[in-house]
């Protein structure tokens, strides 16, 4: 076991109203070396909060995340540093995640220096090697981020993440901000790097079709909870939770022209996490909800070898 997320919850306090928001609620997922976990869900489902907890940017309110049998969130700074070099995060928007006043070569060498991974004379060579790894000519190392295209910038963010020689990359919507014609190219780069360095990925996205291409396992989240988990084919070809089904139906479909599925549109919107509905959080929008769903909170239950679903109305 590489990464173990065990019953993790995260609450945020709202200062003005003194209310608290349950951003994550009892999330448990495991991930093995070399595998890719896709996390899908809409805004407010907790997918980015989960990413921040795994990287150690924030601490869980309850539950534990362990990485190679060691719990994270440890105060000991050396452990945290080792942890940080092992797990890296790539953000959605390379415009805001790269320092606009720093040349791209510098932004990569900084990481190498912080983690003391190369001797001074070796650093320059390593920077060039990393840039080549992500398909950027080393000639561009003296450029600033604004002198690069969106795709090139995202490649630089990936090179920076690789600079600390991580085992696990958390990719938070890594291609969503890119132009359509360069997305596939960056996705293929992620495929190549995974292969070459034996990387483990957590791929966070709202785009189910991208998730399908890259993931071995998929977790579907709604309002801070995992509502369905399984292999990519379990979740996408044999979805059981009504929310997963609705997400699949809502994906814009370029393969079937004119096949509108608008009548199937989910009603309503994601409820306010500060004011969670009782019972199943999805019951207000669910096409198959019964009065029982208002009362009973469904647990994630295994329905097949690796496929689990949190729905009380599921008759399998």
């Amino acid at each position: 076991m590489t990464l173990k997320i065990d019953n993790v919850g995260k609450q945020y306090k709202v200062r003005a109203s003194k209310a608290s928001i349950n951003a994550l609620n009892g999330v448990s997922v495991d991930l093995q070396v070399g595998q890719t976990l896709g996390i899908v869900g809409e805004s407010g489902c907790g997918k980015s909060t989960l990413a921040r907890l795994i990287v150690g940017l924030e601490k869980p309110t309850n539950g534990q995340i362990t990485w190679r049998e060691k719990p994270i969130g440890n105060k000991d700074s050396t452990t945290l540093k080792i942890y940080h070099s092992n797990i890296q995060l790539v953000f959605q928007d390379p415009y805001s995640s790269l320092n606009p006043r720093q040349k791209i070569g510098q932004c990569i060498s900084e990481v190498i220096k912080t983690h003391k991974l190369r001797a001074g004379s070796e650093i320059q060579k390593r920077v060039e090697q990393l840039l080549l790894e992500v398909g950027i000519s080393p000639d561009l190392q003296h450029r600033y981020p604004h002198q690069l295209s969106g795709g090139q910038r995202q490649r630089v963010s990936i090179a920076r993440a690789l600079a600390s020689e991580p085992d696990l990359l958390i990719l938070d919507e890594p291609v969503s901000a890119l132009d359509v014609s360069v997305r596939a190219d960056v996705m293929n780069l992620l495929f190549d790097l995974r292969e070459k360095f034996g990387l483990t990925y957590i791929f966070i996205s709202h785009d189910l079709s991208m998730v399908r291409h890259i993931s071995d396992f998929i977790a579907v989240m709604y309002l801070g909870k995992v509502v369905e988990y399984g292999s990519w084919s379990d979740v996408l070809d044999n979805p059981k939770h009504p929310y997963t089904k609705a997400l699949i139906d809502a994906m814009p479909d370029h393969e079937n022209v004119g096949a509108t599925k608008y009548e199937k549109a989910l009603l309503g919107e994601v409820p306010d996490p500060a004011n969670m509905p009782s019972g199943c959080a999805f019951h207000l929008r669910c096409p198959i909800a019964t009065p029982n769903c208002k009362v009973q909170t469904p647990e994630l239950i295994l329905i097949d070898t690796l496929h689990s679903v949190a729905c009380s109305e599921l008759k399998s």
């Binding site: 809409e42 132009d179 359509v180 596939a184 190219d185 996705m187 293929n188 079937n256």
Partner: protein, 322 residues
């Protein structure tokens, strides 16, 4: 064929200061009742094209030549007064981000009354019209919504308000600039359903601008594909998606993730990035990324010409080899 509702002819848009071409000599038309999708990436000129129809080009950008013909007048040379009388009334627009398009310090009802006021329609029927406009777009409790501010509403609800504002005077043409891009997929689906229903009810024409091919596949009748400031292909939605003839359209469709693949399957990528429109004025803008490019593609600009399926601007169309 009937007379087009709006006809854009040889439109060229440039920066005012240094005459950099942003939109290069494009022509198209939208017929009454027709929905047309304009698909392109950032910098392809799709938004500028839409803004020029309304006479709302940003400062520093000008329509250098061409015509935009709407009911016997050229909107590019028409008086501002005339354009104002058409905007919001006969041609209206919805934007990507309703938080910036709506006035944050004005109650939503008042913002709709302003539309009526601008067209001298503040009569005794106005309150009922505003109420109905809110009801029509599926806003729950319209009475309460009228006295709310934009920040009290979710993104999806704000987009509904913007649609209500655009639809209140029953326009002949609705221009939509990526109105669902900032929304979650299930909310996007609701908005697309709403717009489709409004179009069916009113018979209005639509110009839908997007980078998302999936959205237009189930929404419009015809698709215009733009690349680096030019139209590279036009066709019915069915032909564009099943028999694309321009290598860019073909490559773009091939690069999209498919719903029947196995996990870990690579995508068909187009190498490179889109060029700046002003740097590729005398060649096919797609040639540096194109596998079919030959010498002539680098030295000459292909013009749109009909083929068996669509109209494409390419010397080496894909043909039927699919």
């Amino acid at each position: 064929m009937s007379k087009p509702l709006i006809e854009v002819k040889n439109l060229t848009i440039e920066t005012a200061e240094d005459s950099r071409t942003l939109v290069n000599n494009i022509s198209f038309e939208v017929f009454p009742g027709e929905a047309v999708g304009v698909v392109g990436e950032s910098g392809s000129g799709k938004t500028l094209t839409a803004l020029s129809i309304l006479g709302l080009l940003p400062r520093g950008v000008v329509a250098r030549s061409g015509e935009i013909n709407y009911s016997d007048s050229n909107l590019l040379t028409a008086s501002e007064e005339y354009r104002r009388s058409i905007r919001g009334n006969q041609i209206s627009m919805i934007y990507q981000d309703p938080m910036t398009a709506l006035n944050p310090v004005m109650k939503l009802g008042k913002q709709l009354f302003e539309v009526l006021e601008a067209h001298d329609l503040l009569d005794s029927e106005a309150p009922q019209r505003v109420f109905n406009a809110f009801k029509e777009v599926g806003i729950p409790e319209p009475d309460r919504a009228l006295v709310s501010y934009p920040h009290e509403f979710s993104g999806g609800m704000r987009q509904r308000v913007m649609i209500a504002m655009a639809m209140i005077l029953s326009p002949k043409l609705l221009i939509a600039d990526e109105p669902t891009t900032a929304l979650d997929v299930t909310i996007q689906q609701q908005i697309l359903a709403l717009v489709s229903e409004q179009r069916r009810k009113t018979g209005m024409s639509m110009l839908w601008i997007t980078h998302d091919l999936g959205v237009v596949a189930n929404l419009v009748d015809r698709v215009i594909v733009m690349y680096a400031g030019r139209i590279v292909e036009v066709g019915t939605v069915k032909e564009i998606f099943t028999n694309p003839q321009h290598p860019y359209t073909h490559g773009l469709l091939a690069s999209l993730p498919k719903s029947n693949v196995k996990s870990r399957e690579r995508l068909m990528a187009i190498p490179g990035v889109p060029p700046k429109p002003w740097l590729v004025e005398n060649s096919c803008a797609f040639s540096p990324r194109c596998t079919r490019a030959t010498t002539e593609c680098f030295n000459e600009t292909p013009s749109l010409k009909p083929n068996a399926f669509t109209k494409a601007a390419c010397f080496h169309e894909i043909g039927t080899s699919q």
